[in-house]
């Protein structure tokens, strides 16, 4: 009896499991995948820090995207398809990004990820996206890994100027204009900081006397500032997110550290930092924005401090027609600019876009996209890196005053050249690009 029931159980197990062999093959491995696309809609999405230490500023970027896509949808969409943009919060926490990306790709079934934000965060999912053959367009981060090796990551494209070229341009400017300065680096402890350091060291290796790193999440930067102060630093290069710009300024007030500050464009928005700082004291610091006077940074997009720029006029129009609550800020401008590039990419992919097709289209036609950035993209089959240059500005009264013309370069030992060709591009009359399908 006992032997029967054991054998019986085994047979049962085998039979049942054999019986469930009824499934089909998953369809996302075929060439020309059209997941996320129907005849009338196209669904895209990304992860952003809507909460957490990186949320000040960055949480506004998706609202820029949405406003511009709504504008385009109101004009009939792209090739008759309306764009739907799904946003998920990862709180700038790479483990969450993994989870959230699973949801976007497996549950929401997006056609492509557009603008996924953050170096440490997106780094956690870039392999998954490439393995799953999901187009990973225009990552909101300047790390090199999105574009310097298209063989490893064929589906991923950067968008903004990468941190290495920013480091190079900053390093070159400091070397030319402040050759005797003792330079200290204030870096986020991940690829963002590392890539910036790489670029800066090309020109400033002998001027750098101290390097201080922080982890996003630990808001006590007193040890780092004290370290820089103790090393006698009189010019600080900061590759950090906006909250840490405010924190570093605040701590320096406390310990009486008064270097020249040079922040990456990632962390230097005067309105945002000023708003963060303005609250911090009663009486001692009345105007937060003025703490930033004399701070140097770089710029590759016209911002809200230049309301007469033709692109700004377009963004204002889009925002007032389709924007959510609040004013147009530089982060929303960033979002809209990215969205503009995506619409160009979608047009280049032709009337029947596929995942592989849009990737090929960006490689073929991306270099010639005319957009709000002051320098052209570098998209080719060999490089998926984004905007190729920027200019150095000094912030005074919340406005960036240009110190140099647009400087263009590439990673590695490519030289730095002046190139104003792309800075003259203006938007088309109806504000929607008109890119022909790439061959």
């Amino acid at each position: 009896m006992k032997r029967w029931s054991k054998a019986g159980a085994l047979v049962l197990v085998a039979a049942v499991t054999a019986a469930c062999g009824a499934g089909g093959r998953p369809d996302d491995a075929e060439p020309g995948s059209t997941v996320g696309i129907t005849d009338t809609t196209i669904k895209i999405g990304a992860h952003f820090p809507l909460t957490g230490v990186a949320a000040p500023g960055y949480s506004e970027i998706p609202s820029g995207h949405k406003a511009y896509y709504d504008y385009v949808n109101a004009h009939g969409g792209v090739n008759g398809r309306k764009i739907e943009f799904v946003v998920r919060d990862d709180a700038y926490n790479p483990t969450n990004t993994s989870q959230v990306t699973n949801e976007l790709v497996l549950n929401d079934e997006i056609f492509a990820m557009v603008g996924g934000l953050g170096t440490p965060t997106h780094g956690a999912v870039v392999d998954f996206l490439n393995d799953s053959k999901v187009p990973d367009l225009f990552v909101s981060s300047g790390s090199l890994q999105w574009g310097d090796d298209p063989k490893e990551k064929p589906f991923t494209f950067g968008w903004q100027p990468d941190y290495e070229i920013e480091g190079k341009i900053i390093g070159d400017w400091v070397k030319k204009n402040k050759p005797d300065a003792k330079v200290g680096l204030f870096l986020q402890d991940d690829d963002f900081g590392r890539d910036g350091e790489k670029g800066a060291r090309r020109y400033l290796d002998d001027q750098i006397v101290a390097v201080a790193k922080y982890s996003p999440g630990n808001t006590d930067v007193a040890p780092q500032m004290a370290q820089l102060q103790a090393a006698g630093v009189d010019l600080v290069l900061g590759f950090n997110v906006p909250s840490y710009t405010a924190l570093s300024q605040l701590v320096s007030l406390r310990i009486g550290f008064k270097p020249t500050w040079f922040y990456s464009n990632v962390g230097s928005d005067p309105t945002l930092v000023g708003a963060l700082l303005a609250r911090f004291s009663e009486g001692a610091v009345t105007d937060g924005a003025s703490l930033l006077d004399g701070v140097l940074t770089t710029e590759y997009l016209a911002g809200v401090d230049a309301p007469d720029d033709p692109w700004l006029k377009l963004w204002q129009k889009v925002w007032s027609e389709h924007g959510a609550d609040g004013d147009l800020t530089n982060y929303r401008v960033y979002g809209m600019s990215q969205a503009y590039t995506f619409v160009q990419a979608l047009q280049a992919a032709g009337p029947n876009p596929t995942r592989e097709g849009i990737v090929a289209a960006v490689e073929k036609a991306g270099k010639s996209f005319e957009g709000p950035a002051v320098a052209p993209f570098r998209f080719t089959g060999k490089s998926h890196l984004g905007v190729s240059g920027m200019s150095v500005v000094e912030i005074n009264n919340g406005v960036g005053e240009e110190q140099t013309p647009v400087l263009v370069t590439d990673i590695g030992d490519a030289p730095i050249k002046e190139d104003e060709s792309a800075s003259k591009d203006s938007p088309p009359a109806n504000g929607i690009p008109n890119v022909k399908p790439a061959e």
């Binding site: 006992k2 049942v16 062999g21 483990t95 999912v125 392999d127």
Partner: protein, 335 residues
């Protein structure tokens, strides 16, 4: 006794295969998560329920398992077989658990809670300090190792479907659950388990009966640490990442509340708790968004519910959901 357990285990395997083969990739990923939560919760429920040691640091022990796994998978060409890697991760965490357990054996109640709390906060700082080898804030990426050909063929032969990486991990996880739970159930019912309960219930009497308190407590800690290590390794594989941000204080607290909700000391309760941890957030967030909250706000509803139910359980039904159910069944039977 053993035969019954074998049948239950086989039955569970059948259920696992049926469920995994017939649900979407997304659900498979969720089931994989439920598996590693169940393993961690199983170890914790035995430690806290049977042995009475309250640990708030099991998230940190999961981190040890996760990082060990991630480190061994960094060089994907030279990687050992996956099962061996997970075993090594478990063993490493066992050793760490022994060290912690020895220190913890002399503490009780709130002191033990506070010390393990400090552990939970301290361990994530280590990869930040040694950011060269341990990846810093960004963490270590974990590329899923390729599925062994013989396994892929065997699964296709039996089920007719391809084995995707996500499903592979889910199978691995649930196999782990079955193995670990059988082990834990045996331990609980054996002399060792009775010793643990004796230590929990009355220290003085236990020592008088000849039980070495320290050894019993350390053993319980070590066993639960091993479970946490295995869970951490599986988590690193599922999330494709081992980073400090994955092992916050919140993880340890959620694990504890999952175990309390399910019922301290009950393995079925651990499964229930793990299911809640995995599936409740999506369900509740959906309700919240329908009720008009923003998605960021709705995401807070799940922890709110855990916390509220934990408080209610402690106040009203200390034996948790599983215990309450058992009592209900017994009461029904007696009336």
């Amino acid at each position: 006794m053993a035969r019954r357990q074998l049948l239950i285990a086989l039955g569970a395997l059948v259920v696992v295969v049926l469920v995994l083969e017939n649900t979407s990739q997304f659900r498979n990923a969720q089931f994989a998560a439920m598996a590693y939560y169940a393993i961690a919760a199983g170890g914790l429920t035995v430690l806290t329920g049977l042995n009475g040691q309250l640990s708030l640091g099991h998230g940190a022990l999961m981190a040890v398992g996760a990082y060990t796994t991630a480190l061994m998978l960094q060089d994907k060409d030279a990687a050992l077989p996956l099962v061996l890697i997970l075993v090594i991760a478990t063993v490493v965490t066992l050793v760490v658990g022994a060290l912690v357990g020895v220190a913890a054996a002399r503490l009780h109640g709130p002191y033990l809670a506070g010390a393990t709390l400090a552990l939970a906060v301290a361990i994530p700082g280590i990869p930040l300090y040694f950011s060269e080898t341990l990846g810093g804030e960004q963490g270590l990426n974990v590329r899923t190792p390729p599925i062994p050909d013989w396994l892929a063929d065997a699964v296709f032969f039996v089920t007719g479907q391809d084995l995707t990486p996500i499903r592979y991990l889910a199978y691995l996880g649930w196999l782990g659950v079955i193995v670990v739970f059988v082990l834990l159930a045996n331990l609980s019912r054996s002399r060792v388990g009775r010793t643990w309960q004796a230590v929990r219930d009355d220290e003085v009497a236990a020592e008088l009966a000849g039980i070495n308190l320290g050894r019993a407590r350390v053993l319980a800690f070590v066993v639960s640490a091993g479970c946490a290590g295995l869970a951490g390794g599986l988590m690193a594989l599922s999330a494709r990442l081992a980073a400090p941000s994955g092992f916050t204080l919140t993880l340890s607290l959620l694990l504890l509340s999952a175990v309390v909700l399910g019922g301290l000391g009950s393995l079925v309760g651990a499964l229930v708790g793990a299911a809640l941890l995995t599936f409740l957030p999506q369900v509740v967030t959906g309700f919240g968004e329908d009720a008009g909250l923003t998605d960021v706000q709705a995401a807070q509803l799940a922890p709110l519910i855990y916390g509220l139910v934990t408080v209610l359980v402690v106040l009203l039904a200390p034996a948790g959901l599983a215990g309450g159910l058992r009592k209900l069944i017994q009461w029904r039977r007696s009336t």
